[in-house]
Structures are given as structure tokens and as C-alpha cells.
Symmetry: C2
Subunit: 377 residues, 2 copies
């Protein structure tokens, strides 16, 4: 029932080992890029900033199976790795940058947008430098380490006339979209409460355990999925949050960030939610919506593939995994932002949404510190 | 995955319709009454106080398949119903009482103990009157409507030299006992957090919606299972509780008691828990324990049969329903108290435990009212 991060990464390793031709069969040609089907021509060129697990293991393979996106530049502190990836993705070595000559990317006309996949603490700097270099920015979640940084990022992109999207792929993902739609249609009646959890047992030595790099602990990294879900499933923003955090397992991992955090939220309509996150135990990634006429479970709810919705309410019972293999969520995300750029739309998950969540996260942390619920003003 | 109360009651209807001979085959002759196997003779005589769903549908059928318990008297305001049940259980009509002549039960030497299955608001009165009549008392949960009542009940039983047990059957039930034992053995490593939920969509007109009869809403009635579970699974008592309650569905049911309540608890070792309860939506009845080395789920966790434990941690993975058909939990409970009476033990779930939980419930309600966490002193 619960799938550990380890199981999941192992599974991805298996998928990544498929030959390209086999992987391309996984692509569903419909649904995720209306514009691409209409024109089929112009692709948005992405510069990848940061070559870590998510960019190399998910986003770049996702772009490869996308319809309107392509990889045209790389930014990395590791020249060898960057050249290896450049070779794999057909990127010219002249389009491989490092963090010192990053600004030269401004002169690379192939690069429309940057995908920022650096440690959280570097998101704001490279979003701002990217916008100043004239590029649109798709920034990984969490948007940054603080509300102040989020505000600066939004201001920089606005000043440069560039678009800013936060990589909240779940808001483009079929299981989560179906859940939102079913709730809107009244499948569970009136939503009464939601529980959501996301957490895993982190390996020692990860940058995520460094406060300066990560901005915070599991709340910033994966708790944000539960926070987001409570908002998009209800269509509301909480009016009050209350949290408790703890460090139990004194094995040296948790010198700087929390190990566990649980929090509750009260929403304007009276909906109340409980959420859990952890770097010290396997919580899986789930939500459970309870309504006056039924319930809805997603387990897993937020990971890269294999999402599974179960529900019983107004209408036929639902018990079905979503056929949406990795890295399709990332292909969809790249193409959504490409559509926004090419058709001059605002992204579905703009910087303002990342800022809203960062405000909520700061309030949850404040609640933990002050030992009291905090109103959302 | 979730089973509604309605599904469940339907299922019980089916089991109750079995002929007695077939039902007696459901009895496991080992395990739940050590003393009965040793002597096999003397049975404890129960007087049933209150002929409602739980006594007629569960406890009395449970006593019928028990080893050391028998039904010898009935107390009810409905003479017809009482005489019908007396006939079914072989109780003399002279041993049928009402709430006016209740004290006469003192002279009935067959009655060792009373099973109090009245609305919560009447538990204290009949426990105290029962103790004064010289009877031991097995009282349904929640113990009463207030801490003050619980204290009076304990004092009355102590003054009368009678035993007092609260009907927390989960603490005698195999799935919950196995979970406790596995956690003690380190199966999930260090427990980090727990989530537990128990709630259902209540029918209009139930006495549970009347504050005076019920003492409170779903927190008192079913949230108490989650509260208890967080304590017996961790072996700890919380040091702080924080709750939010809400009424959303203004259909007239929730004039006096809360509709939904979620709460968090902080335990001395750093364990943090989230719990949900509701009378306005189907939450099922579950717990999920997250530890440093694994996790453990019970779903359902607290209902009368079909409990199902899933776990992955140190040792073989577990995915197994418990073969413990209704009404065996009630048979086990009746026999445990019978053992206590015959062998002069203290019950595993004495009045002091009911009092502890009532204190916690009052603090959770206070936290909801005052909008702040409350320390457990």
C-alpha cells in the first residue's frame, strides 16, 4: 500500500534503462499540449540550471518526450557531467555554462526559458539572474527559502517582462485534476475534512538537511505537497494554521532542520485539515478527503507515477491507478510553460502561488516556534 | 478500503441471523479466559442496564458465546422489549427491572456485575447507583460526560469495594494487541508520528446529537478510539493537545455538538500525532504509525470485526485481516471483567483510564474553544 522512496527510485531506474524507442511508446500524444497539436512546429528552448536527480532523472527525460519543449543549454558546476549530458541531449558544448559565466546565457538566442533545479537556497539568485538575462523561468518547488526571496523573484521577472512558473506538477497531473473535478461536481458532497501526508526517511549527507541550502526541513520539501493539495482540493486558502515539529532520532541528521512536523489548517468554509511530514520515517504520499456524501483517497498522490485514486460517493465507486508513466508529468509541465511562453498565457502555477505557499510555510514554522495557532492575514 | 458503518451494520445483521449452533462454532475456545479453562464452573452474572444497539446487538450475543459470563438480569424502561430479551436469554421475568425500581437489584444475588450501556450522560448516575447496590460495574465508553462525573464514579466504586472497568474492548483485541507488541519489539524502529481517524455520517435524531445525553459530539463517541490508540500504541500520555472543531453542514443535526474535530498531540518522547473525528462524513476507523524503520496501518482498526493490519518494517511484511468475528470482542471483554471479579484482579482498563481520557477530551475541547494548544498538567 505504501511505497517507499527507495522502492520508487528503484522502479525509475528500471524505466530509465529502457531503450529510447520503448520509452517513447509511453507518451500519450493527446492532452497535454493543445498548442503543440495545433502548430507542431516551434519548440521552446530550455536551459537546465543544476544537474541533479530531478533534472537528469525526470525533467530532461520529460522534455525528450514532450511536444513543444527542447533542451538547448546546460548550467552546471561540473563540466564533465555537463558535457556528458550535453552529448546525450544533443546540446552544443558552446551552450554549456557554469555559475561564473552564467550571464553569457543572455546572448544565447536558442534559450527561451530556464529550469531552475538547484538547492532551494539558490532558487532566488538564479531566478533573478535568469530574468535579468532575459529568460523566462520555471523554478522547482519550494519557490525559495523565504517570503522575501519569493517577492524579489516575482519583482525581477515582472521588471524583465519574463514569465515565472513554479514547478507544481501535481496541478497538471491527471489523478489530482480528476480529484479536483470530482469534488467540484459534488462527488463527495460537502468537503468536511482532509488528511494528507508526505514524508520519507532521508539519507545522511543530503543538502536537504542543510538549513542554508534547503531553507527548512521536510515541510519545505515535501510537506508543501500536502499544503498545496489541501488548497487545490478545496479551492480555498486557510485562515489559520497550527503546527508542531519534533526531532526524535538524534543520529546526527537533524542538527539544522526539523525531523517531523504535523499541522492543522482551518479554511473559510469550515473545512479542517491535518497534515504530516517527515524526514525520519516513511509516510508515503497520500490524501484522504472526507465529505458529507462520500470519501476520496489518493495513495500515492504526489509522486512521479503510479498515482492511485479510490473513492466512494455520488456516482460509481472508483478504484483505479492512473496510467501516466514517468517522466510524463515532467513533459506535461515543460509543455505547459512552453504554451504559456508561445501563446502569452499566465502559467497555472505562477510565482504568486509559490509566494502564497511560502507565506503559509513561514506561518506554520512560526506556529511551531511560538506554540500557538497563527492567523493567516 | 473504507467500510461504512452502514455496510458494517448490514454485515452484522447477516451474522446475527445465523442459528445459535453455527454461531457457537465461531468461538475460539482458547485465549480469552485463562481462568475459565482452569475451573470451567463459576460464571459471573451480568445485569444489562440499557437495551440499545450495543447491548442487544453486541454485548448480549457476546456473553452468549463467552466462557465465564452469563446474563441474569435486565434493566430497561421498555418492559415489552425487556421481556422479549429476557425470554431470548433465559432471564427470569423477576430479574427484569426498570429505572424506578433499579435499587431492588441489590437483593438479586445472581447479579455480580452491571453492564452500563446507556447514553453517556447517564453513565455516572447508574454506575454510582450500581456500586451502591453492591455490584461491580463494566461501563461503556466514554466513561461519562465530564471529569467530575468520572471522579465520582471512581469514588463510589471504591467506597463500595466494587470493581469498575471501562469497556475499551480494543485493548483486549488481537489486532490492536499485535500492533502494540510489534511496536514494543521495535518492528517500526522508533515511533515518530501517528495519524488516526474515526468518524461516520450520523443519522438525524440520534441521542448522540443531544449534548445532555452525549456529553459532546464525535470526539466523545468515536474520537476517543483514536485518542486511546495514540496512547496505547506509544505507551505514553500526551503533554500537549491542540484542537479545531467545525460545523459545516447546517442541516439541523449539529445544534448542540461539533460536527468535525481534528486535533494534534505532543508526547514526552517527541512523538507527534494527528487525529480526525466526524459525525458529518465517513472517516472509517484507522491508525497509521510511522517509525524510523517502518510503518504500520490498521484499517479498519476499531470496529467490531474484520480488523486488518498492514505493516512493513524490521521483519516480514504484514498484510492480514484478523479472524475474530463479531461478537467475540464483546465475549472477551465480558470474560476479562469476569476474571477480574472472580480472581480479584484490577481490570486492564479501569475507571482511572476512563478518567484520564476524559481529562484529555476536556482539554481538547478547551483548546478548540480557546483557540490555543493546552498543556496536560
Amino acid at each position: 500500500m505504501k511505497r517507499s522512496r527507495r522502492d520508487f527510485l528503484g522502479m525509475l531506474g528500471g524505466a530509465a534503462a529502457l531503450p529510447l524507442a520503448a520509452r517513447s511508446e509511453l507518451v500519450n500524444p493527446t492532452g497535454y499540449s493543445r498548442a503543440a497539436q495545433a502548430s507542431g512546429e516551434r519548440k521552446v528552448g530550455y536551459g537546465i540550471v543544476g544537474l541533479g536527480r530531478i533534472s537528469m532523472g525526470q525533467f530532461m527525460p520529460g522534455v525528450r518526450i514532450s511536444q513543444r519543449s527542447k533542451i538547448v543549454a546546460l548550467v552546471s558546476g561540473h563540466r564533465d557531467k555537463a558535457e556528458r549530458m550535453a552529448g546525450r541531449y544533443g546540446v552544443s558544448t558552446q551552450s554549456v555554462y557554469n555559475y561564473e559565466n552564467f550571464e553569457e546565457i543572455a546572448h544565447n538566442q536558442e534559450v527561451d526559458a530556464l529550469y531552475i533545479a538547484l538547492p532551494n537556497g539558490m532558487h532566488s539568485e538564479y531566478t533573478i539572474r535568469g530574468a535579468k538575462a532575459g529568460k523566462h523561468v520555471l523554478c522547482e518547488k519550494p519557490m525559495a527559502s523565504s517570503v522575501a526571496e519569493c517577492e524579489q523573484m516575482i519583482a525581477a521577472c515582472r521588471a524583465a517582462g519574463r514569465k515565472l512558473m513554479i514547478a507544481y506538477r501535481c496541478q497538471l497531473e491527471p489523478t489530482n485534476l480528476r480529484a479536483i473535478e470530482l469534488i467540484k461536481q459534488g462527488y463527495v458532497g460537502t468537503v468536511e475534512s482532509i488528511h494528507s501526508a508526505d514524508g520519507f526517511n532521508i539519507s545522511p549527507g543530503e543538502w536537504r538537511l542543510n538549513k542554508k541550502m534547503a531553507g527548512g526541513g521536510p515541510m519545505m520539501d515535501v510537506g508543501i505537497y500536502s499544503l498545496e493539495a489541501c488548497c487545490y482540493l478545496t479551492g480555498e486558502v486557510p485562515v489559520e494554521v497550527s503546527g508542531i515539529s519534533s526531532v526524535i532520532d538524534h543520529d546526527g541528521r537533524f542538527q539544522e532542520v526539523e525531523e517531523n512536523l504535523v499541522w492543522t489548517m482551518r479554511f473559510p468554509s469550515g473545512i479542517i485539515t491535518t497534515c504530516q511530514t517527515s524526514y525520519g520515517s516513511e509516510l508515503g504520499n497520500t490524501f484522504h478527503v472526507s465529505g458529507s456524501k462520500g470519501w476520496m483517497d489518493a495513495d500515492p498522490a504526489f509522486i512521479y507515477e503510479g498515482l492511485h485514486l479510490r473513492a466512494k460517493g455520488n456516482g460509481a465507486a472508483i478504484d483505479q491507478p492512473t496510467d501516466d508513466p514517468s517522466p510524463r508529468q515532467f513533459a506535461r509541465q515543460a509543455d505547459h510553460f512552453a504554451d504559456c511562453i508561445l501563446e502569452n498565457h499566465e502559467p497555472k502555477t505562477p510565482g504568486e502561488l509559490g509566494l502564497r505557499d511560502m507565506r503559509l510555510i513561514e506561518l506554520i514554522y512560526r506556529s511551531c516556534q511560538e506554540g500557538r495557532p497563527v492567523k493567516v492575514s
